[in-house]
């Protein structure tokens, strides 16, 4: 009744090709932005911002990166963690070499390094696909992990082998390092994620994105229609790794504060794959939903026994958490293999005609 396109006429092509053609969608997105930019920092405490919102946004960004590759281009990748690592380590190096430059510029620049490495390890995709490609991205994962440990130059020869978030400023505010303000950090992360989501949605709608989807749906047909697989696949690897790299840099400098190679290991790669699949392959809103589901659900599970007054030790909760996630993944795949985004779409379809069965 409230959510419908009746009466919203489009009189030119620009209006017809908008991202959100329906007024209600526009209002909803504005409301979401207001909540994210005003209400959350105003009323959310430090725990909420630092432990829930910031990691959620960073994971969303990495999931968008992965989804571009897996969901839109159809190239299965298990190396997300390592590509994030490339971003994180290059950001660390850049900001130690140029300490006075705005950290946000460094974060974005480090994405380019990650994109370069992504192209390099994307080369096998020109000859292989499917699980074979997955194994070749595993090679990237393990090789890069090894580099992060063995190449001491990457972490400035310090003894711990970890990279620390150095105190850096952006526009006069301390945003990283020990003295950083969590609200400022939140704003930086949120802005980057929102802007990059917007860019992603436009890339996907544009020529490049459509060539990715053609490759995904049927590579031979795409090639016959003039899509060059070389450019399409490698550009997907580049853009995807760029997003992952920026997410990795954000993760170290705006969330963890200090990171070792464990923060970029294979388990993280799987985590992002879960987020992409649970959220819905080939959907940007799905990335948000998947990241929220996988990141926030365990927090709720951990907090639940205490809230209910049960005395369960932490290890048991952790095990139950694992079982729950595993079970949920299987459950979701059975019930809705296209993820939360599909559920959301079905809900919207229902809303259009509600409360009447037909319209």
């Amino acid at each position: 009744m409230f959510y419908r396109e009746v009466g919203q006429f489009k009189t030119n092509y620009t209006a017809d090709s908008q991202v959100f053609p329906i007024l209600q969608d526009k209002l909803a997105i504005i409301a979401m932005l207001v909540i994210a930019f005003v209400l959350v920092p105003a009323f959310g405490g430090e725990f909420f911002l630092k432990s829930i919102m910031i990691p959620f946004l960073i994971f969303t960004l990495a999931t968008i990166g992965l989804n571009i590759l897996v969901g839109y281009t159809g190239q299965l990748s298990l190396g997300t963690g390592a590509f994030m690592g490339v971003g994180a380590y290059s950001c660390y190096k850049l900001t130690t070499i140029f300490p006075d430059v705005n950290i946000i510029i460094m974060v974005l620049l480090s994405g380019f390094f990650s994109a370069g490495i992504g192209i390099l390890f994307g080369l096998p995709s020109l000859r292989i696909k499917g699980f074979y490609l997955a194994v070749s991205t595993l090679a990237a994962q393990f090789f890069l992990e090894w580099c992060f440990i063995r190449i001491e130059w990457l972490y400035n020869y310090n003894d711990s082998g970890a990279i620390d978030s150095l105190p850096r400023t952006a526009f006069g505010y301390a945003v990283s390092g020990g003295a950083a303000n969590h609200v400022a950090q939140y704003f930086v992360v949120l802005s980057i994620v929102v802007v990059m989501t917007w860019i992603a949605s436009n890339i996907i709608r544009g020529r490049i994105g459509r060539s990715w989807m053609m490759i995904r749906d049927m590579d031979i047909a795409a090639e016959l229609m003039g899509v060059r697989p070389l450019y399409a696949k490698l550009s997907a690897f580049a853009v995807s790794s760029f997003y992952c790299g920026v997410a990795g840099a954000l993760m170290v400098f705006f969330w963890l504060g200090s990171a070792e190679v464990e923060s970029f290991d294979i388990n993280h790669s799987f985590l992002f794959l879960f987020m992409a699949i649970i959220g819905g392959l080939g959907s940007l809103i799905g990335c948000y939903m998947g990241a929220a589901f996988i990141w926030i659900l365990p927090i709720i599970i951990r907090a639940l026994p205490e809230a209910l007054g049960l005395d369960v030790n932490a290890a048991t909760v952790e095990h139950i958490n694992f079982m729950m996630i595993g079970g949920m993944i299987i459950f979701f795949l059975i019930v809705e293999p296209h993820g939360l985004a599909r559920l959301w779409q079905i809900a919207k379809e229902k809303l259009r005609t509600w409360p009447f069965p037909y319209s």
Partner: protein
């Protein structure tokens, strides 16, 4: 020139000057290769019959070994524990078929793959919940596995061969032979091959897919148990094993996803290659190359033979 000398000549000089050590390295590569083959075998069994890329094979190894050790620690005699564990693997296979596979029939490969990752997580949580996360010693002696070692003295040096390793190799050979006979000579084995060839054709001649899947997952469970026993006896039984199990992926690439002999040869290639490279060339790059070397071999293989050594040739343009 120094670098070229270090890469091309020096390792061979080392091999020649200490042949006993070279033999020792080869032997350890052989044993590691056998274990990789065993894990890969589990993957291949399931992939052949159901087209599912079973990511949970690694955790099945850990789970089987943990069940065995856990039952023994709970007071069940060793052989009883072994039989009960085999029973547990059957129940697991049945549950997987019933709850996961049956509901996901006809889904895309990636969905099934993700489902096995979900299974992987579930089994990690379940295993740790029931048996605890700390590493446990494998009950090798209680199961009648030999523990001593024999020292040979070829070329005036010494080569130590652990009896356990010999047992592992013999067990692998027995297992593979048994599976080969099972696949080629029995009624169920023929049904399995039929399913592997074509699901629909197999269905139409009256083979029950569900039953076949249970059998295949059960066979993979038995292979996992054998792998778990041998690997657990070499190091302890812990969840770290599942990362090692990922090494089975490059093994599969080299051997081909659908070939049992391929899994064995691929395992040996990776085992030998990894150990030799680590010992003789690893020093040039700093140690720890074992972690990624297998994947890089696989990557190089992919560029020249994407279907693996023995895989079915898929004529496909990419």
């Amino acid at each position: 020139m120094d670098i070229l000398y270090n890469i091309l000549i020096d390792p061979f000089v080392q091999m020649g000057s200490a042949p006993d050590f070279f033999l020792q390295v080869l032997w350890s590569g052989f044993v590691a290769g056998t274990l990789y083959s065993l894990i890969a075998l589990g993957f291949v069994l399931i992939f052949k019959a159901s087209g599912v890329f079973n990511f949970a094979q690694g955790i099945m190894v850990v789970f089987a070994a943990l069940t065995l050790v856990g039952l023994y620690q709970a007071g069940v005699p060793a052989w009883g524990a072994l039989i009960l564990t085999i029973g547990a693997m059957y129940v697991l296979a049945w549950l997987v078929e019933r709850i996961v596979l049956r509901n996901l029939v006809n889904q895309e490969e990636i969905i099934l793959f993700m489902a096995t990752i979900g299974l992987n997580y579930f089994l990690i949580g379940f295993g740790e919940y029931v048996f605890g996360g700390e590493p446990k010693p494998m009950i090798a002696a209680e199961l009648g596995l030999p523990t001593g070692s024999t020292t040979f003295e070829p070329f005036g040096g010494i080569v130590i061969i652990e009896h356990l390793d010999v047992a592992a190799v013999i067990m692998a050979i027995v297992l593979v032979t048994a599976l080969a006979i099972f696949f080629n000579k029995t009624r169920i084995g023929r049904a399995l091959r039929a399913v592997a060839d074509d699901h629909q054709a197999a269905l139409s001649v009256g083979i029950s897919l569900n039953q076949i899947w249970v059998i295949v997952w059960f066979a993979a469970g038995i292979v996992a148990l054998a792998t778990g026993i041998m690997w657990g006896a070499k190091s302890d039984v812990s969840f770290a094993l599942q990362i090692v199990a990922l090494k089975a992926l490059p093994v599969l690439i080299i051997g081909g996803f659908t070939s049992i002999p391929g899994a064995i040869i691929g395992g040996l290639v990776i085992g030998f290659g990894e150990k030799l490279f680590e010992i003789y060339w690893g020093g040039l790059l700093g140690s720890g190359v074992e972690g990624w070397f297998a994947y890089v071999i696989a990557l190089i293989f992919l560029l020249f033979r994407p279907q693996g050594l023995f895989g079915e040739k898929i004529i496909e343009r990419i």
